[in-house]
Subunit: 138 residues, 2 copies
Amino acid sequence: MNEIDKKLTDKEVRPTAMRTLVYQQLAKQNTAVALTDIELAFTKADRTTLYRTVKTFEEKGIVHQIDDGTGISKYALCEPGCNCEIENDLHLHFHCSNCDKTVCLTEHKIPQISLPDGYVAEDVNLVVKGICSGCSGS
Amino acid sequence: MNEIDKKLTDKEVRPTAMRTLVYQQLAKQNTAVALTDIELAFTKADRTTLYRTVKTFEEKGIVHQIDDGTGISKYALCEPGCNCEIENDLHLHFHCSNCDKTVCLTEHKIPQISLPDGYVAEDVNLVVKGICSGCSGS
DNA sequence: AAGTTAATGCACTTCCATTGCACTATAATT
DNA sequence: AATTATAGTGCAATGGAAGTGCATTAACTT
């Protein structure tokens, strides 16, 4: 059993051929990708399958979904220390308005947010929009 | 000329009957509303008109659009000191997963975010999801 | 190998966002 | 006041992404 299949098994996801390939594809990316992007990479596979594959990954904590404000859900593999389900350990995301790519700034943690009385936080989503390093030319 | 029409004129928006009514409606809300909500309040008006009215408001800085992670755009009137276009003066939004309402926490400013070299921030969107004061029963 | 369960593919639906075009109202000009 | 120009509104239709139901196929279990 290879690396990827072991990772999937660890997360209680049966390593089918499709899932291994999707994982591989996600691992190649350095940005968060939309379902459409994955679809384009697997023209022979059905969109629904990819959709459900990613959803399974998400439920099992293999990827996290990112809402970057474009209205299109993006997905990225959780890093080793991602813990995206644990509050206060959330990292922020950056969406480049030039190249339209979304990256996880894993090392940039979201600061503690104070809320008015009676408000209970369960999840925090912080997206910075602007120009990424690739596009700013620096 | 009444209050609302003056405000619209100040922002270079011609105060039509429709626009005045939509503004009025938005002013009544204490939460950010979806286009569908506005539509329900104006059953005789066309969805497109409302859509474009809100878009116009947005362009002219009368309302700001909120992406609360539900996938449905919400809109709220800009407060007197809103300045939603100026960075570092951005407030955060709270989306209640129980009542599904989104509120602007105007007094809660978003802290300064540090970014890696080469990244230029233009806009910041911070949404906290959880239970609002109305639903938490406190 | 038979049977059970999970995964996949196809077709279809829904929902919101958005656009094109015709019509109407408002403002500007003569 | 009539005419023209411009902006706003309504209707119809499109598009894109998310999601569901069901039949088929593949993968595990015994």
